[in-house]
Amino acid sequence: MCDACGCDGTSSKVLEINQSLLAANNAMAEKNRIHIESLGAVAINMISSPGSGKTTLLEKTIDVLGEELRIGVIEGDIETERDAERIRAKGVPVVQLTTGGACHLDAALTHRGIHELESQLSGKKLDLLFIENVGNLVCPATFYLGEHRRLVIISVPEGPDKPAKYPRAFIGSHVFIISKTDLMPYFDFSIDYITDDALRLNPELRVMALSSTSGEGFESWISWLRSLCIRTV
């Protein structure tokens, strides 16, 4: 006889499971969130196609806020330490996670990253933790990492049809950043059009258009980050 359900174990039986395949990931992510909060930080998961300007946005953000807020970064890439080296050059604590082929970060890998970051901090706290996901607009959107806010970025050269083509990334995000707006003169790109399409998928999205090169639109990005870090106590 079967210990689990008491059946005779001979005929076929149907188990009703009704559980998300992401349940284990999400449970681990919840632990990550609590761990991140114990470091004092608000975590932001950045999702975009390769080359949309995630690392450049982080570099410029550290230039502006690095003295005022304690920033930490977890970099996710399939291979190489390059993005982490760029962030390290800015003098903030950073951990590079390489997925060795996987197209996304998951909660277990992020958990390792948080521990490595914590040992670099040696007791110090953080205000903001950026998690730069693997460059990919599809796969990362499925995996909650324990972040407080999720960011989806589309750069002007990618074209304005991306929300319609990659709905999942928009449905699950809090903020939509249109990056590289300095390139608007060279591309057929309408901010109104893409904003409208994104809001159709997710009316709660906060939309910001900016350029890390020219600094255009940076004020609202920076003040949004500041607002995340205001302590209620």
């Binding site: 689990a4 359900c5 174990g9 039986k13 009703e16 009704n18 995996f143 709905p167 997710n202």
Partner: protein
Amino acid sequence: MHELSLVQGLLSQLESLARQHKTSSIRIVRVEIGQFSGIVVDSFQFAFEVLAKESFLMKNAELEIRVPPMQYKCFQCQNVLVVDNEPPAMCSKCQSTLLVPDGGDGVILLQVEMD
């Protein structure tokens, strides 16, 4: 290719279910994949076939994937519209065109049939 890691997770869950219920063969696995989950049904099926072959427990298992119709909610009047795949043009109650995807972002293990 995140379908591969999801299937890997599914198989290890099935292995522990089989251990719990002392079975050596799983017959049917029923999974639901939402149309806004960002998961490609064909890739999921393919990953299952490749990985299941390597497992004694799963080698005769069949994967049945259910894809429920899409559901949209009217942003104005909260009316829920159900469609097969194309988003509806406007709300059938208030004619608003602001219709927002409602659910459909999950991937769920529904049932397992075992010997």
